[in-house]
Symmetry: C2
Subunit: 310 residues, 2 copies
């Protein structure tokens, strides 16, 4: 089992987690969570989204959140930015990094942003030029619905490669594949990343996984084995799946870091502090979150022995 020695964990809970929940979380609570996350050793926190407020009302306070965050050196504060209008808002708000995406299936692209993949790609060129001009990083490009699409079913790896090539041709250094609906299984994940690694050897690979069907960390393991070194995750496992009400969201940052740490893979993140952030997120939402490590913690040496464990 060959695994990387270190990975970058990108915390996306304040953005992808909170935008998928039914309720609106007020800006001061978002700010408190982001500030706490910045104390854990995380180097990237996706804080907000500059999607139109009508489409994602949960993120309507992006400017207020960015204004409230106490920027900590060594931490990049990112945003999901869908277009040039959003980019101008992001620039004014002082975002360090803009996340961009492209769907693997045209049906998804048309339904999500009313553009084909080719049209979306054409838009990305002036977007990236403008971001570079003002010093906003665009380091990660995500291929959404990279494994399974609710409109088109299983996505052929060759199609994913085509979109990844488009993103790489723009000078984006990390290409991330997203299991947007949390339906992928490990062999698919391994095969898609293995193809990208072979065909785009200079690109760094990332995975954006959802745990909707319980396969999140198994898919992360398959991705690690295929050479992926960048992982998106959400504190507490915050979030949901718009296609499956009540289902889990992104893989949990605590669970991911627990697994990586247990395998000797360096993350730079302090698991105990992360668990503190998970508790804070749980308090803010007033409910239990999906993260397992948040509830169970590390294994403690114990004295009491339960009956007949096996």
């Amino acid at each position: 089992m060959v695994l990387p020695s270190a990975v970058l964990v990108r915390e996306v809970g304040p953005r992808d987690g909170l935008q998928s929940l039914p309720e609106y979380i007020p800006a001061p609570q978002k700010v408190a969570l982001i500030n706490a996350l910045a104390e854990t050793g995380l180097r990237y926190i996706e804080a907000v989204s500059f999607v139109h407020p009508k489409r994602v009302p949960q993120m309507r306070d992006a400017e207020e959140v960015m204004a409230g965050v106490q920027k900590r050196p060594g931490v990049r504060y990112g945003a999901f930015v869908p277009n040039l209008t959003g980019l101008e808002r992001a620039i004014k708000a002082g975002v360090d990094e803009a996340g961009v995406g492209l769907g693997a299936s045209d049906t998804f692209n048309v339904k999500n942003v009313n553009r084909t993949a080719a049209e979306r790609f054409a838009e990305l060129q002036p977007f990236i030029a403008r971001a570079r001009e003002v010093g906003v990083a665009v380091d990660v490009g995500t291929v959404a619905m990279a494994f399974v699409c609710p409109f088109e079913g299983a996505i052929p790896p060759a199609r994913v490669l085509e979109q990844a090539r488009r993103l790489a041709s723009l000078g984006i250094g990390t290409i991330s594949l997203a299991d947007t609906v949390g339906a992928a299984t490990p062999r698919q994940v391994y095969e898609a990343f293995t193809l990208l690694r072979r065909e785009l050897p200079d690109v760094r690979l990332g995975a954006h996984l959802h745990d909707t069907r319980g396969t999140g960390l198994a898919n992360a393991l398959a991705a690690l084995e295929a050479g992926v070194t960048v992982f998106d995750s959400s504190i507490g496992g915050l979030g949901g799946c718009p296609f499956a009400p009540g289902a889990s969201g992104n893989i949990s940052t605590e669970d991911l870091v627990y697994m990586l740490e247990g395998m000797g893979i360096e993350t730079g993140v302090d698991l105990d502090r992360l668990r503190g952030c998970g508790r804070l997120a749980s308090e803010i939402l007033g409910r239990e979150l999906p993260s397992h490590v948040l509830k169970a913690g590390r294994l403690q040496q114990v004295q009491a022995m339960p009956a007949a464990a096996l």
Copy 2:
């Protein structure tokens, strides 16, 4: 990624799941669940435990449960059987298969059954002789706390091998390693099974995994890659961890089968019927269960598009 083409899924929810819950489930409800599970294509259902009722009161009705079950041809009804007294009860109750175990750490063995591993092994010889005499199968021997022990910490693979050798020397064909406290991570799992596969090439390998820290299916993937073809799981993810109150139990049968099916690994189990059993278990307990696939289901082709998914 080399994976087996078929695996045996052993349903242990009625035993390991229900024995770990705080409440007692009446025998008729246990029987209903076991009978429903027998309609899914599962070939092994661990129905009861013959541990002393004072130690595991949730299983005090083992005889009543076995008497109520409608045995379906092709399904084996198993029990966890700790000793000869339990074996006589199991024989009378008409159990097809007895599960036996041995802890990897002596501290665990002493605390769990008040015996060292060597003493426990000595007891197993007459136990297996008696079971064979009456035609009760002892096909699977489990090494408990095979990766991490709450008393002794990380377990060296060589120690696991020693216990596995003991079980194999009794003619037990499948040796299963249990992550009893759900603290293992995939590299450990892969390494322990790889050692066993090399040193005991004639033994079939099994994994008994708990999802206490979210690594359950990732550990299952690592086990598959190391050649494991037998997996224990619980319907709905029933169960808990006696060392971590409120934490998840065994890996969920629905999630395991979803992952295996998605990778083209044959299980013979009908996922839709399994989900029906998960709903029944959830109704019996009157609460949500940990299984993800139980909540999210398979991916449905959808028409409605949520805003700005990534």
